[in-house]
Structures are given as C-alpha cells and as structure tokens.
C-alpha cells in the first residue's frame, strides 16, 4: 500500500486516533501521577469530546480508509466511514461520557480507587474497539475489533475483584465469549474459503454469482451471526447477559447495555446489508441475494429474543437482572426493525436506539444511585421508595414508562416507528407478536412502580441528598425521554440523515 493512501486514510480515522491518544495519555498519567487519579477521567472525557468533534464531521463523510486501489474492479477498504457509522459512534460517545460521569458517583468504583487507571484505560479500549466495529467492512477487522471490545469488557465486568458475583460474571462472560468468537471465526473462514476475500464489498460482488453453494453460505452466515448475536445478546446467545449484568459494576452494566449493543447492532446491519444485498428498490426495500433468507432468520431470532427476554424478566426480583432481561427484550424489538430489511426499517431502528440509549442509561443510573444509598438492588428493598426518595422514584417511574412504551414518552415514539415500518412491510403478524410482548413487559415494569409507590415504606424516610452532578445527569437523560415523546421531529430528522450505508 502506498504511503499516500495511508496518509489519506488518516483523515477518516480521526475519531479512532483521538481515542487511542486519550488511551495512551490515561496510561501515562496513571504512571506519572501515582496516587492522584483525579486527572484520569478528565483526560478520558476530553478524549471523548475531541472524538465527538470528528464524529460530527463524519456525518457528511463517505469514504473508505485503507482502500485497496490495487484491485481494479472495485475501490473498497477495510474501514468504511459514513453517516450510519457516525450515528452509532455518537451513541457510543454519548454512553461513554455519561458512564464516565456515572463513575464519579458510583460507590463501587470509588472503592477500587487504586485501580482507576485500569478502569479508564479499559473503557477507552472498549470505545476504540467499538468505533472499529461500527466501521469495519473487512472480516479480519470485524473479528479483531470484536475481540478488542470483548477482552476489555471481560476485565471490566470483573472489575470489583472482591465481589464473588463479579468474578463469576467475568468468568461466564469469557467462556461464552470465547465460544461465540470461535464460532464466528469458523464462519469467517468458510466465507473466505468460498470467495477468497475478506472484504465485505468484494465478497458481495462475488456472491452475486448464480453458482453459490447455498448450504455453505447459510452455515457461514449463521456462524458469523453467532459472534454478533452474542454482543447484542440475541437469543439463543443471550445466556451470559443476566449474570454479567448482575455481577458487573452498575456503570459497566449500563455501558454494556447501550454502547456495546450499539456497536453490535451497527456491525450486524452493516454486515447483512453490505454482504448480502443485491439492490435497493425505489421504495427503500433492500433486495437481498436469495442465497440466505435473512428476513425469515432475523424474524425468528427477534421473536425468540423478545419473548425470552420478557418472559424471563417476569420472575426477576433483582433490579439489575430485571433490566438485563428487559434489555434483551429491547434487542428483540430492534432486531425486528432490522428484519424489515428496508431503509424505513433502518430509520426506525436508529430512532429506537437513540431513545433506548437515554432511557436505559437513565434507568441504570437511578438503580445505581439507589444502590449507593440503600446498598441493595433487590426489588423488595424498593418498597415505598417513591415516598422516601420522591425525586428518584418519580424519575425512575418516567424512565420505566418510557421503557414500556406508553405515550406520551419517547419510548412510545420508538415503538410507533418500528410498528409503522413493520406494517408497511406487511409484517403484521410480527407486529402483533411484538405487541403481545409489550403487554407482558408491562407487568414487570409496573411491578417496580407498584413496589415504589403502592407498597408501604419498610423504613422511615431518610434524608437523601442528591448531588448536583447526579441531578444534572438525570435531567440530561430525562429531557429527551420527555421531549421526544411530544416533539419527535428532531430525532426523526437526525435518524433520516443517517441511513447512508456505503455500498449498493
């Protein structure tokens, strides 16, 4: 590859470079400053702010980094920069910034004060991995970035060393992760064997040929999906989720449930769309290569995922586990939007994800604040919380209402657009199943509301002072949940501007 081409690529890689720089700075300052860890989160935040600047520039970019000009018939690269990627990168940045702020007020993280350097390094490592995952258009990079994210998150899940559950969570996470990435690697090797290329665009152009072995391709597709499905905790690759979410520090749980899912979904959509598409109809529907029935496959997976998630959540008594299952269910709703395989479905997915990020992070943050105060995440200890901590109770209630998807909250708008996309694609049965799932989910969400507001407080009201930072954070997350419920033009417009995936 020519030097010139590499230099050109650097402009496309600005966010990744910024994150790497911040990562190195965190490591260095951790060594230099010794006991004084106050600067570390500031560096991490500064890195994210700088990265967000470059990501916003990428909203209008379209291009490839490290493109292979040597292949005359196609000009494609390992890293694809487009507005679709920029959307998910901004979700990752949003989640990272919020989680860094969460970490300021988390008791769990404060206890491991001497290892804060590790913590922020790993978080930034994950962000780097997720950025690459979102942009990857080469199977090699797909695998590497996925591993980078996974390895960082294994350590983070077990970050509170002294808690047994935390270590157990990390171990389970590794085992499941190893298996699914092994499966994925197998799938990648099959795909490589069939086409002789690791570049998704090249693979796509080769798959257009009529004499493709359907069975091998289906096999490869499913195996690769196993690797991605594990990241987005789609059934049947979701088994790690509740244990890890429960055992990990809450900040990391929140991070995994939003950022790592965002990266996983971006990868899934990009992989499916670039590799298997044969054209886009004027109506916005993607015409897929008939070799692998992605639509049916994704429908089945999404129905499985949401149903399993919702029904398992019914029996949970631990808030973190409950939210873990709820996030599985939400992954199911989002998969349903992908299964539409159209630009309209993609817009719905983006809208849903944008809203999901706020409401899920908000819910986890409040669970964390409450755990800081009462030292428990058990539903039983939430009795009468709406009266002992009215502000947290009411705001938590609003996040839950949005997670249910009741109007006039933003969660409803997310669901509405998903349903419109489904009905428009004549997938009524799927929509009805999703709706029945929503009714099931209603039960466990209002179970929390019930404990907080309808049950008598177990302990007399204790004075609870919310720090100004926490207050601001809650308002920052609550405002979109409330405002987008009534006035959702901005988020819809934003999502519509971000559907460009380079390729056909």
């Amino acid at each position: 590859m020519e030097f010139h081409s590499i230099l050109n690529s650097l402009t496309y890689l600005a966010p990744e470079i910024t994150v790497s720089a911040a990562l190195i700075l965190v490591v260095l300052f951790d060594l230099i400053l010794g006991k004084n860890k106050k600067a570390l989160p500031v560096i991490a935040l500064a890195g994210m702010v700088a990265a967000s600047f470059f990501v916003f520039q990428q909203m209008t970019f379209n291009g490839f980094a490290f493109s292979k000009v040597s292949q005359p018939w196609i000009n494609v690269g390992m890293i694809t920069v487009d507005s679709f990627g920029a959307f998910f990168k901004s979700i990752v940045i949003l989640a990272t910034v919020l989680v860094i702020f969460f970490s300021f007020s988390s008791e769990e993280i404060k206890k491991s004060f001497d290892r804060l350097g590790e913590y922020y390094t790993l978080v930034l490592g994950m962000v780097l991995g997720m950025f690459l995952m979102i942009s990857a258009s080469d199977l090699l990079l797909v695998y590497l970035s996925l591993e980078l994210v996974s390895l960082s998150s294994y350590v983070l899940a077990g970050f509170t060393k002294l808690r047994e559950r935390s270590s157990e969570a990390a171990l389970k996470y590794i085992i499941y992760g190893a298996v699914s990435s092994g499966l994925m690697l197998f799938g990648i090797s099959i795909l490589f064997g069939m086409t002789g290329s690791t570049n998704l665009y090249v693979i796509n152009s080769l798959l257009q040929a009529p004499n493709i072995n359907h069975l091998a391709l289906a096999f490869a597709g499913i195996l690769i999906f196993a690797g991605i499905g594990y990241k987005i905790s789609a059934a049947p690759f979701h088994f790690w989720t509740p244990d890890v979410y429960e055992g990990a520090p809450i900040t990391i749980t929140a991070f995994l449930s939003v950022a790592s899912k965002a990266a996983g979904f971006a990868l899934l959509i990009r992989f499916v769309k670039i590799t298997f598409i044969s054209g886009v109809a004027p109506s916005g529907h993607w015409q897929m290569i008939p070799a692998f029935p992605w639509k049916e496959f994704l429908i089945v997976i999404s129905i499985l995922t949401m149903t399993l998630g919702n029904f398992s959540a019914l029996w949970q008594t631990n808030l973190k586990r409950l939210l873990a299952y709820s996030s599985i269910a939400h992954a199911g709703y989002i998969l349903m939007g992908i299964a539409v395989l159209s630009n309209q479905g993609l817009i719905a997915v983006l809208i849903y994800f944008g809203i999901y990020a706020f409401m899920n992070l908000g819910a986890f943050f409040i669970v964390m604040l409450i755990a800081n105060k009462i030292g428990s995440e058990e539903l039983e200890d939430y009795k009468g919380l709406g009266y002992t901590m009215p502000f947290l109770g009411v705001t938590f209630g609003m996040f839950l209402v949005s997670l249910i998807g009741l109007p006039p909250s933003a969660g409803f708008i997310g669901k509405l657009y998903l349903f419109i996309a489904l009905v428009d694609a004549k997938m009524i049965v799927v929509a009805v199943i999703a709706l029945l799932n929503t009714v099931v989910s209603l039960y466990y969400y209002i179970k929390v509301l019930r404990e907080m507001f309808l049950a008598k407080p177990a302990s007399p009201s204790t004075a609870f002072k919310l720090s100004p930072l926490s207050l601001i954070l809650i308002i920052v997350m609550l405002a979109p949940v409330v405002i987008f419920g009534v006035y959702f033009n901005p988020i819809v417009e934003f999502a519509k501007g971000c559907v460009t995936i380079l390729g056909l």
Binding site: P407, L416, I420, V423, L435, T438, V439, Y443, L449, F453
Partner: protein, 513 residues
Amino acid sequence: MYMENNFLLTYLLLIPLLGSLLLLFINKEKESLIRWAGFGIALLAFILSLVIYLRFDPGQSGFQFVNKITWISKINVSYHVGIDGISILLILLTTFLTPITLFSSWKSIKKKVKEFTFFMLLLEVGMIGVFVSLDLFLFYVFWEAMLIPMYFIIGIWGGEQRIYASVKFFIYTMFGSLLMLVSIIWLGVYAASFTGTFTTNLLDLYKIGPGVPHQIQVFMFLSFFISFAIKVPLFPFHTWLPDAHVQAPTAGSVILAGVLLKMGTYGIIRFCLPLFPQSATEFAPVISVLAIIGIIYGALVAMVQKDMKKLVAYSSVSHLGFVVLGIFAMTTEAVQGSVIQMVNHGLSTGALFLLVGMIYDRTHTREISNYGGIAKIIPLFSFALMFASLSSMGLPGLNGFVGEFLILLGSFKSPVLNSWAYTIFAASGVIFAAVYLLWMYQRVVFGEVKHQNLFSLKDLEKREIAILIPIFIFILWIGIYPGTFLKLSEKSTNTVIQQVLVNPNTDVKVAKQ
C-alpha cells in the same frame, strides 16, 4: 363546518393540565388550599364547557370548534380537535362529574391529598382529550396517557385488594389498546397507498376506512372493537371491572363508571362504526347477542352480591350492555338512546357510588347484611338512595327510562338486527334491574335495625347534599324533558348512521323497515 381555528377546546384541555402542574408548586401540608384549588380548577373547566355548550350549534352536522395544528408533518400527524353533538354531551358529563368527585373526596381521601388532586386533574385532561380528538394518533396518546393516573388512583387510595385490582385494570386495558395501535398504524399505512402520505387524520380516514378490503377490515374492526369492548366492558371482557370498581376509592369509582367506561362506547360510535361500516353491520348481531348476555348476566350477578359496591359495579355491566345494543341497532332512536344512556349511567351510577361511599365513610362496611332499617335513622340518605336507585332502574319520569326506552324502541325496528327477539331479551334486563336494586334497597333501608351502632348514624350533611343535588337535578331534567339533550345529539347521530348504512359496501335491507 367551521374551518377557522377555534381555541376553546384547547383551553378546555389546558385548564386542568396547567392546573395540575400548578398544584405541584403548593406545599403538600396545605391540604385545604390544595382541595379548594383542585375544585376551583375543575369548576373552571366546567364553566368553560358550559360556554362551549352555549355556543354549540346543534343544527350543524359536522365537527365544531375545530382546532388543527400540524404536529409532526412527516407522518401527517396533527393536533386536531373538534366536537359534535355526541362528544359535547360526554364532555359536559366529564367536566360536571370531576368537580363533584373532587368535592366528594374531601373527607374520604385523607392521605396524599396533593397527589390525588393532581392525578384527578390529569385524568380529566385525558378524558376530555379522548372525546375531542379528531386524529387517531392524538386519540391514542390521550387514551393511553389516562391509564397511569387511574392506575395510581386505584393503587394508592383503593381498598384492601387495590394492588391486584390496579394491575389487572392496567394490563387488560393496555392489551386492548395495543391491538388498536396496530390497527391505527395499519390504517395509516393503507391510507398512504391512496394519498401518498401516512395519515392519522380521522376525517380523511372516514373516506378511506370503508374501502379497506373486506378480510383486512374484519381484523381492523375487531382490534378496534375489542379494545373498546374491554373498556366498556362488554361481556366477556368485563372481569376487570368488579375488581377495579370495588377497590377504587369512591371518587375513582365515580369517574370510572361515569366517564371511563363511556370512552369505550364513544369509541365504538366515533371509530368502529364510521371507519368500518361493512364489518360493523356484519358483526352487529353477534355483538348485540353479547350485549344482551351482558345485560342479563350483569343483572343476575348483581342480584346475588353481598357487597353494595359490587352490586353497583355489576349493574354497570348490565347498563352498558344496553348502550352497546343501542349502538349496533343503528337506528336514530337507538343510537340517540345510547348516547343519552351513557350520560344517564354516568349520573345514576355516579350517584349510587357516591351514596355507597357516603355510608361507607360512616360505618366502614359495604355488606348489605350489616344494614337494615336505616330509613328511620337517616331519612335523607334513604330518600337519596331511593331516588338514585329508581333512576338507575329506569322509572318513567327519571332519566334511565328515556335512554332504555329509546334503545328498546330503536332496536325493535332495527333493519340491521332485523329481529324482535333482541328487544324481548333486553327488556328483561329492565325487570331484573328493578329486582336487584329494590331488593338491595329493601334490605338496607327497611326492616329491623340489625346493629346497635346503626342508631348513631348521622344523616347527610350539607356538603353531601350539595354534591347530590346537582346530579339529581339533571336526573329529573333528562327524565322530564330529554329534548334539551336529544336535540344536541340528533344531527350527529344521523350523520354516523348515514356513514354506516348509506355505504355501497354495506348490505342492509333497509326496505324491510
């Protein structure tokens, strides 16, 4: 149709909405200030609705006081409100009952007064919103937004089993309304294939709905209908109602029976019939049979209740059966009877719930067997209970008679139902109503005084009389001169029937009339 924007209905929505937000700034210790403020806000809304009534022109058939503001242009959703002769009656009922219930709960609601008043006003916003929405999206938002205040009203201030009842209420209603949501979207997408854009504008959909292919129309009709039937509640979707009613505080029961149930029947008139006329006429016999089962079943179950509140709750199932029967008879008399019966039921059942609540506040029991012979001890109460019971069972001269008579008359000559059997069976419900109400009355009011502590009962106080008198005035008014109210709804009722019957797709042998 007035096409210029008229903001009166918007103000009507804003008064309780802003009022409820205003309440949040009052210190919760100042309970009497909160009570007065809540009552004042609700009264203000009532006065405004009277202004709307005075300016309402019953001679017009279209929607009046229309206010349309583009909300989300991309999917063609707008804030679009307006009323016709059917909705104005229900709005008046809502704004009339809300201050009364707030006033009535001054003594019975002792804890968390601020939250209670807040939720009641929020509920009023939702209820008015449902009756004025001319956009399905807006309608759905109001319809769902109302669930949360009602959930808390039952769940926080209710009786022993309140948590179970509130969760059941929530899940039942939510199930129904999500079905409706899919249909709304379906309809909007279908409209897009004609007009090019997704739309939820009711007036546009009125033109499109009847043309939906038959098989799809059946599903859409059913999903709308089941959602409304759960709310009504029509047999066999009624099982949430007794729990919710019995557990809710008096104010909650009154609002639930008085207004919330009417949203179901209103929805049927406003959406099910005009949007899907073909399916509506096809299903009319089946639904009418369900309605009649509801009438008789509700009455029989009411007869054997030991708890007064449960008795009144089951009587609602029976009364609402009449309303549904009237709607699906689809004659002017029957539908008008249904509309007036919705108001009647709100007044009579509201009064009965209030009276049961009043005596419960004194004795803390609702068991019929714990009473007896109170006629001599508290004559005013006994008279009021008599009056409300008679009105509920449909004694000529009181309001219930007008509605039931019109419904029975209308269904008898209905070309859609085309059989007198419906009327005969439904009429038996009137007799049953007399049985369970009079029997309850006899056991509670007459006979031996069974318990010594009944002797110390105090009769109705001035506040309670003040609550009941306005209701009784309307009960008499409708009973003696229903023309005031029937005149309002006549044009609009005819419009709805025209939309259903004068439709190329509906196959009704009108000649048989």
